[in-house]
Symmetry: C2
Subunit: 394 residues, 2 copies
């Protein structure tokens, strides 16, 4: 890729920020060899960028999204009209400072916001892939991102950062491309999914596939949408994103209509109404088959298993600087999982700092206004930028 292409990207980005948000798209003709053995071609990657790439291409930050997020990390979301999912973290003067860094945020393979996924057209049939899309893994997501970075002509990343499944990608990047990652920030994440994690994912998948409108995955062809199943999947998952104390604080046993139970099955409690809303709004922006694929990728993730059972082996000899972050009330990705990463990094003699942040906001804390998260990531990224020799914001 030549310099002109990069400038095109940056210009496109600038136009996008001025106008309504619109994804940039990289069309990659080189086949993506998947972990399953299958290949995926052509590959389309939808992404956004924020900030400008510097002359020596040393200031790129890759932001990795979680299960149901997408490339719209710091711009208004084209479907929901809401601020990007990490607009608290990415922007001028924010921890991922767009005055200093060239920030890349791409939709994962298997996703549904423009990157090749089950709703994309299968070139073999001219119809949507549906379940004919090969199963993808976290490693496949990272390999696709690496192709995007190649496509953008960026030799290596100053920083890879993400929460939850985004953190899994961060770890996979550091393990797979140690020389292309200067600094890595896995937040509220783990090196593998636990049995409970898999269990909740499986409930979501069962809810989707139980919906007759799912049509064995062929709903796009048959003109249906498994709305109810996908909404139930979202509702169950959403509970796991919040801590019990936060639910108690926000909703407790508050009734919708104060003082009166209906003695029926309407949403009497505010928490019921809230969950129903979460389910209903989710189906407006997310594809049911993508939910199957992306949860499967998370379930399959086990970085130690990929390295002979030793997580430390995944990072031996690494020169990447790590900042591992967890939240005290996160019961989906508890601190223990982050601690295991830190122990492995220590055993691999890596440069690692670890911060467990006290909050009652649960797993979703990585997406919320948590000042200690901002201070921690900003401090780490600024220090790493100094080591990297990146100039301070002008």
């Amino acid at each position: 890729m030549n310099q002109a292409t990069i400038e095109l990207s940056v210009n496109a980005s600038a136009r996008r920020e001025a106008d309504s948000p619109r994804s940039l798209v990289a069309e990659i003709s080189r086949p993506l060899k998947l972990e399953s053995g299958a290949t995926l071609a052509p590959l389309r990657i939808a992404y956004q960028t924020y900030g400008e790439l510097n002359a020596d291409r040393s200031n790129a930050v890759l932001v990795c999204h979680a299960l149901t997020a997408d490339q719209h990390a710091a711009n208004v979301h084209p479907v929901t009209g809401k601020p990007g999912w990490w607009s608290t973290m990415i922007g001028p003067g924010l921890p991922i400072d767009t005055n200093r860094f060239f920030v890349i945020s791409s939709n994962v393979v298997g996703g549904c916001m423009g990157t090749t996924g089950p709703a994309s057209t299968n070139p073999a049939t001219g119809e949507p892939y549906g379940l004919d899309l090969p199963v993808v893994t976290i490693r496949d997501m990272v390999d696709a991102q690496a192709m995007l970075i190649d496509h953008l002509g960026i030799p290596d990343l100053f920083c890879v950062v993400g929460g939850s499944m985004g953190g899994m990608q961060v770890l996979q990047w550091a393990a797979r491309h140690p020389d292309r990652v200067f600094a890595a920030v896995p937040i509220a994440s783990a090196a593998k999914h636990s049995a409970q994690n898999i269990a909740f994912d499986e409930v979501g998948r069962q809810a989707i596939t139980a919906d007759p409108d799912w049509r064995a995955g062929r709903y796009l062809l048959e003109g249906t949408v498994p709305r109810k199943g996908l909404a139930v999947a979202r509702m169950a998952a959403h509970i796991t994103y919040l801590s019990e104390p936060a639910l108690q604080r926000k909703f407790g046993r508050n009734l919708q209509d104060r003082d009166s139970r209906t003695f029926g099955f309407d949403a009497d409690f505010q928490i019921e109404s809230y969950l129903r809303h979460q389910g209903a709004s989710f189906v407006e922006r997310f594809d049911a088959n993508s939910y199957l694929y992306v949860t499967r990728a998370m379930d399959y993730f086990d970085l130690a298993a990929d390295h002979g059972g030793s997580l430390a082996s995944a990072f031996l000899g690494t020169r990447t600087r790590f900042c591992v972050v967890s939240f005290t009330s996160d019961w989906l990705f508890p601190t223990e999982g982050s601690r295991q990463i830190v122990h492995a990094l220590n055993a691999a003699a890596a440069n690692v700092s670890f911060v467990e942040i006290e909050t009652d906001k649960g797993h979703d804390a990585f997406l919320l206004d948590v000042p200690e998260l901002f201070a921690t990531t900003k401090g780490f990224i600024d220090a790493a930028a100094k080591v990297r020799g990146l100039p301070e914001a002008g």
Copy 2:
């Protein structure tokens, strides 16, 4: 009710234990006034008994079941062919010693194993109630049980004992009929459902009502069964019954077929297969509408709210002896909820002992082989029996 009727019951019970298990049924013509203001008549209560009522009718123990259990506490279940859900706790020489006590176990109002519930015939229409059954509460369940006790000619209960929703009934019994409960043992329970509890219940209800075979609750009339929705509800709930460490210990990331992921959506992991089995077997024995009603009863339960916001007020002046039990790894009904009960009982100057049992078995510990549970309940019940003046087992 006269002595002959009691002997009939006991004889029926003896017959049942010898033959295949068969519910006893009390037909109660007196209307049950529900908390909603509606009335339920006629009322049918299906129950089992174990052991013999003594001459002065002072040795009756009422066992209260949880959400998806029933009256078959200590006999082989007629549908599943498995041992009763509390066969570890009820029997000769066990904590609820059938050599000493006359044990009564009845299916709750709203249930589906013989007691009036949504699958029962609505006398007004001659068709199954479906959603025309009035919503019932924990208080309604207890009032129905009180009618059964009246029907059996038993003036008061030596002990009321139960886990989870059974514990809610125990608390409600002690609050509503303080002079009819000598001893009370709420296990793994709470005086109210938390926001998270309600949230999980709502997911289950949404999964059921999302199933087109639910037919707005009229599936019995229309010859369908919302199997998939009910199975998803069960799977989601089942996760909450187990602790994360227990899931890790039992299943971890073990594959069904060792060493090989299928890169598909079959049940690759043992935890997936286990959950699917839990869902599939549950629909063979439980009614979807009952699931709606009984979860609703739990959600509505708030003993403090019923007493001006003070839980202690629910127990003021009580002479009942309490033994409150919780489990360290129970995250559905955490120890904190039991502690609130104990604080309220202390504030009400009640006689209360409290044991938090160390186990990794989660909420389901109350149903499992937990020696400290047996020792705790046996010790408490034996001591209470001594105070009550009941003779030791011969």
